[in-house]
C-alpha cells in the first residue's frame, strides 16, 4: 500500500476492522500468556496507526516525517535532563517559528491576554477587551481554516507528482504545519483566557 495523503477513509476503516478482528485481545482471552502479550502489543500498534492515519493533520505530519521532513510532532516528547524528577517537554512553544506576517498582531494579542488574565485575578471585567479578544479568536479560527484548506491543496501534488513536485509540496506543507501549530496554540490560549 502506497502512503497517500488523500486516503480513502472508508477503506481505511474496513481494514482497521478486519485487522482488529484478527488481533484484538478479546480473540485471545483464553490463549497462552505469550499469545496474549503479542495480541496486546499488536492491537495497541494497530490502534495507534489507525488514530494517526484517520486524522488529516496527524496523517500529514506522520507521512511527511516518514519522508524525513523536519517536523515537531505534538506527541513527541523531547529528551530533557532532570536532576531527580524526570523532565519532559513537548516543544510546542518555539518562538523562532512565529509566522512573520502575524508578528505584530501576535504581539498586541499577547498584551491583551496578559491584561485580561490580570483582570480576572482582580475579579474585574472589561467588555471592550473581551469583545476585542473574541474578534481576534474569530480571525485566528478563520486563518486556521485557511491553513487546513492550503494543506489539503498540497495533498494531490504530494500523492501524484514527480519527485521535484513532491519535494516542493512537502516544503510548503512543513511551513504550513508550523503556521498551523502556532495558530492553534494561540487560539487555545485565547479560548482559555476568555473561558477563565
Amino acid at each position: 500500500m502506497k502512503p497517500r495523503l488523500n486516503l480513502d477513509l472508508a477503506a481505511l476503516e474496513t481494514e482497521f476492522h478486519r485487522l482488529s478482528r484478527k488481533l484484538h485481545p478479546d480473540r485471545f482471552a483464553r490463549a497462552a500468556e505469550n499469545e496474549k502479550q503479542w495480541s496486546l502489543a499488536d492491537t495497541a500498534l494497530l490502534n495507534d496507526a489507525y488514530r494517526t492515519l484517520k486524522d488529516p493533520l496527524h496523517r500529514t505530519e506522520y507521512l511527511l516525517k516518514l519522508e524525513g521532513a523536519d517536523i515537531v510532532l505534538e506527541a513527541d516528547a523531547e529528551l530533557n535532563p532532570g536532576p531527580i524528577q524526570a523532565q519532559v517537554g513537548n516543544g510546542r512553544k518555539d518562538p523562532s517559528r512565529i509566522p512573520a506576517d502575524l508578528l505584530e498582531e501576535v504581539f498586541d494579542l499577547n498584551m491583551q491576554l496578559e491584561e485580561m488574565r490580570g483582570l480576572h485575578k482582580r475579579g474585574g471585567a472589561d467588555p471592550e477587551l473581551r469583545s476585542s479578544l473574541t474578534r481576534a479568536k474569530k480571525k485566528f479560527d478563520r486563518l486556521l481554516g485557511e491553513v487546513d484548506m492550503d494543506l489539503r491543496a498540497e495533498w494531490l501534488a504530494w500523492d501524484e507528482g514527480d519527485q521535484a513536485a513532491r519535494l516542493a509540496a512537502q516544503e510548503r506543507m512543513v511551513a504550513l504545519l508550523d503556521r498551523r501549530r502556532y495558530l492553534s496554540n494561540l487560539v487555545r490560549d485565547v479560548t482559555e483566557t476568555l473561558g477563565a
Binding site: S20, A41, Y50, A77, Q85, A86, Q87, V88
Partner: protein, 651 residues
C-alpha cells in the same frame, strides 16, 4: 470436557447482577431468594456465641440488617473503590460508615488503602466488593451445579485506573479470574445490539445509583466502536436520595425540634422513605411522607412531582455537560445520533427522560429513547454477551467485537508541575505511547516518574496514578542515558509500564507504587476463600448450602400454622404443604444437593398461595402506616419469597 463457563457481572452501586449466555440469549441468574437483583449491601453477622469470626451476609438479608444494626452494614461501597484516604473522607460525609479508628485519627499511612470499620472488623472497599462478587459467584454455581471461575465485570466508563484495578482485585479475592473489565454503557450497547444487525451511531445514557456515564458508539458489521465517552463518577440516584433525606432531616429538626442525624437507625428508615418517595413519583403525580418520630409526633410532607423535579433539576443538569463534551469529542451534532439507549434505574425518572429527549432532539425527530430492556438488567446482559465473545462458544457473539476507549488522558508530570499528555482521552484501547527519559546528575542511578490521569493542565489537578522509579541505570554522565519507557493501556483500561535503557540495552527495573491501591501481596492475603472455605471442596459446599436453604424453609413452614393466613387455605392446600414439608425434611437428611433442591422447589411451590395471602395482609398493614417494603421485610422472617427456579420449572 466442555470449557468452563464465563459469566458476566454487573457490580453496581445499589444492586449487582450475574448473567450468562444461555445459547444465543443473555440471561440473568436469580439468587436464592428468587430476585435477580442482589442488593450491593454487606452485613457483618453477630459474633457467634461460641466465639470466632463473624460471618457476612450479602444482599437483601444484609439490607434488612440495615435497620436493626446499621453499624454492622455497608452499602454503596462502589463509591469508595480505588479512592484514597482524603477522597474516602469526603465520600463518608454522605454515608453512615466510619473509617477504621487509626485512619480517622490520621495515624494510618495515607498511601494505604482506607479501611472501613464494620462492627468489630475492618475491611477495605475491594474486600467488601469481593463478598458481593462471591455471593454472585455462588448464585451462579448453584444455578449451574458447577464451579464458576472466569468472569467479565463491568465498571463505569469514567472509572480511572485505580478504580479499575480495585475492581479487578475484588474479583481475584472472590476467586474469580477477571477476563475483562467492560465499560457499563458499552455493555448496554452490546445487549441492545445483539438481536439487531443494525448500523449507525448510538448514544448510551447511563444514570445509575452512584455514577453517570455517556458513551457514543458507531455500529458497523458487528463491530461496536466507541467514539467517545464522558461522565461523572460522583453522580447518581444516591444524590437524589441524599437530597430528599437532607431536606427531611432539616424539616424535622425545624418543625419538631428532633435531630435525627444522631440516630443512624432513624436516618436509615428516613432514607428508605425518601427512596420510596422517589420511586413512587415515577408513576404517581404526588407522594406523601409520613414518618413517626420517637416522641410520637408525625412528620408529614406532601411532595408533588413538580416540586420533586424542581429539587432535582440541578442534579440532572449535571449530566448535560458530559453529554455535550462526548458529542464534541466524537465530532458529532445531536441530530447525528441515530438512537439513544437508556441504562440505570435513575433513567426511569420522567424528568430524566425529558432531559435526554431535549439533549438529543429526539421527539423533534420523531424518535424515542430505547427502554425496551430493563434498565437495571441491561448492563449485566451486556456483560454476558462480552463473556460469550471472550469464551468464543456462542454463535450469536461470533461476529461481534467491542472496541472501547480510555476515558481519561494519560500524562506525565513535567518540569514546573505541568502535564505532558502521552495518551489522549478517547483513544481506542489497547493504546500505547513511548517516552524517553534521562538523568540530570553524573552517575545518577534512579529517575522518578509521576504518571497522572485527567484533562487538567497541572499535575496537582489531575488524578495521581503512580510514581515509578526507574532503577539500576548504569553509571554515566548526566544526560547520556536514554531510557525508553513504554506505557500501555490494556483492554481493561489499566496501565502497564515497561522500560529499557537503550545505551546499555539493559531493562531498567521499575518499581511501581500505585498512589492508591493494594499490592499483589495484599490481594493474595485477602483472597476470601483462603480463610473462609479453603478446605471445603465444591460438592460439599453445594450440599451445605442446599441443606441451609432447606432448613430455613422448613423452619418457616413449621411456623406457618400460627399465621392467620393459614386459616384461609383450603384443606387440600394445607395437606399439600404438609406432604411437601415431610418430603423435604427427608431429602435434607440425604447427601444429594440436587434432590434437596428439587424438594425445596416443591415445598416452595406448595406454599405459594400462602405467601400471597400473607403478602395481602402485609399490604393492609402498609395502609396502616408501614411502607410496603418494610412490610415485605417483616414477611421475610416468616416464609421464603417465591423461589428462584420455581417459575421456570412449573409454569
Amino acid at each position: 470436557m466442555a470449557k468452563a463457563r464465563v459469566v458476566g457481572i454487573d457490580l453496581g452501586t445499589t444492586n449487582s447482577l450475574i448473567a450468562y449466555m444461555q445459547g444465543n440469549t443473555p440471561v440473568v441468574i436469580p439468587g436464592t431468594d428468587g430476585s435477580r437483583l442482589v442488593p450491593s449491601v454487606v452485613a457483618l453477622d453477630p459474633v457467634p456465641p461460641e466465639g470466632g469470626r463473624a460471618t457476612l451476609t450479602v444482599g437483601s438479608g444484609a439490607r434488612m440488617a440495615l435497620i436493626e444494626t446499621p453499624e454492622r452494614v455497608i452499602y454503596s461501597v462502589k463509591r469508595l473503590m480505588g479512592r484514597g484516604l482524603e477522597e474516602v473522607k469526603e465520600e463518608l460525609k454522605l454515608l453512615p460508615f466510619h473509617l477504621a479508628s487509626d485512619a480517622a485519627a490520621g495515624q494510618a499511612d495515607p498511601h494505604e488503602v482506607p479501611r472501613i470499620q464494620l462492627g468489630e472488623v475492618q475491611f477495605t472497599a475491594p474486600e467488601i466488593s469481593a463478598y458481593i462478587l462471591r455471593q454472585l459467584k455462588r448464585n451462579a454455581e448453584r444455578f449451574f451445579g458447577a464451579p464458576v471461575t472466569q468472569a467479565v465485570i463491568t465498571v463505569p466508563a469514567y472509572f480511572n485506573d485505580a478504580q479499575r484495578q480495585a475492581t479487578k482485585d475484588a474479583g481475584r479475592m472472590a476467586g474469580l479470574e477477571v477476563l475483562r473489565l467492560v465499560n457499563e454503557p458499552t455493555a448496554a450497547a452490546l445487549a441492545y445490539g445483539l438481536d439487531r444487525s443494525k448500523e449507525g451511531t448510538i448514544a448510551v445514557y447511563d444514570f445509575g445509583g452512584g455514577t453517570f456515564d455517556i458513551s457514543i458508539l458507531k455500529l458497523r458489521d458487528g463491530i461496536f466502536e466507541v467514539l467517545s465517552t464522558n461522565g461523572d463518577t460522583h453522580l447518581g440516584g444516591d444524590d437524589i436520595d441524599n437530597l430528599l433525606l437532607t431536606i427531611a432531616l432539616d424539616e424535622i429538626y425545624a418543625e419538631h425540634g428532633v435531630d435525627l442525624r444522631r440516630h443512624p437507625d432513624a436516618v436509615q428508615a428516613l432514607r428508605k422513605a425518601a427512596i420510596d418517595a422517589k420511586i413512587g413519583l415515577t408513576t404517581a403525580p404526588v407522594v406523601h411522607f409520613d414518618v413517626e418520630l420517637a416522641n410520637g409526633d408525625h412528620y408529614l410532607r406532601e411532595i408533588p412531582r413538580e416540586v420533586f423535579e424542581l429539587l432535582i433539576e440541578p442534579i440532572l443538569a449535571r449530566t448535560a455537560a458530559p453529554c455535550k463534551q462526548a458529542l464534541a469529542d466524537a465530532g458529532l451534532q445531536p441530530e447525528q445520533i441515530d438512537e439513544v439507549v437508556m441504562v440505570g434505574g435513575s433513567t426511569r425518572i420522567p424528568a430524566v427522560q425529558k432531559l435526554v429527549d431535549d439533549l438529543f432532539h429526539l421527539s423533534a425527530r420523531g424518535k424515542k429513547p430505547h427502554t425496551e430492556l430493563n434498565p437495571d438488567e441491561v448492563v449485566a446482559l451486556g456483560a454476558a454477551v462480552q463473556a460469550g465473545i471472550l469464551a468464543g462458544d456462542s454463535k450469536a457473539t461470533e461476529e461481534l467485537l467491542l472496541l472501547d476507549v480510555t476515558p481519561l488522558s494519560l500524562g506525565i508530570e513535567a518540569l514546573g508541575g505541568t502535564v505532558a499528555r502521552i495518551i489522549e482521552r478517547n483513544s481506542t484501547i489497547p493504546a500505547s505511547a513511548t517516552d524517553h527519559f534521562t538523568t540530570g546528575v553524573d552517575g545518577q542511578a534512579n529517575v522518578a516518574i509521576h504518571v497522572v490521569q485527567g484533562e487538567r493542565e497541572l499535575a496537582t489537578d489531575c488524578r495521581s496514578l503512580a510514581r515509578f522509579d526507574l532503577k539500576g541505570i548504569p553509571p554515566m554522565s548526566a544526560g547520556l542515558p536514554r531510557i525508553e519507557v513504554k506505557f500501555l493501556i490494556d483492554a481493561d483500561g489499566i496501565l502497564q509500564v515497561s522500560a529499557l535503557e537503550q545505551r546499555s540495552g539493559k531493562a531498567a527495573q521499575i518499581e511501581v507504587k500505585p498512589t492508591y491501591g493494594l499490592t499483589d501481596e495484599q490481594v493474595e492475603n485477602m483472597i476470601l476463600d483462603s480463610y473462609d472455605h479453603a478446605e471445603e471442596d465444591f460438592a460439599k459446599r453445594l450440599l451445605i448450602e442446599a441443606r441451609n436453604e432447606a432448613n430455613t424453609l422448613l423452619a418457616a413452614a413449621s411456623r406457618a400454622p400460627e399465621n392467620p393466613a393459614w386459616e384461609q387455605l383450603t384443606e387440600e392446600e394445607r395437606t399439600r404443604i404438609q406432604v411437601a414439608r415431610e418430603y423435604l425434611a427427608h431429602a435434607a437428611m440425604g447427601e444429594d444437593p440436587a434432590a434437596i433442591r428439587e424438594a425445596v422447589l416443591i415445598l416452595d411451590y406448595a406454599t405459594r398461595r400462602f405467601a400471597e395471602l400473607m403478602m395481602d395482609a402485609a399490604v393492609s398493614s402498609a395502609l396502616r402506616g408501614k411502607t410496603m417494603d418494610a412490610a415485605g421485610e417483616d414477611l421475610g422472617e416468616e416464609v421464603t419469597a417465591p423461589h428462584a427456579m420455581a417459575p421456570a420449572e412449573f409454569k
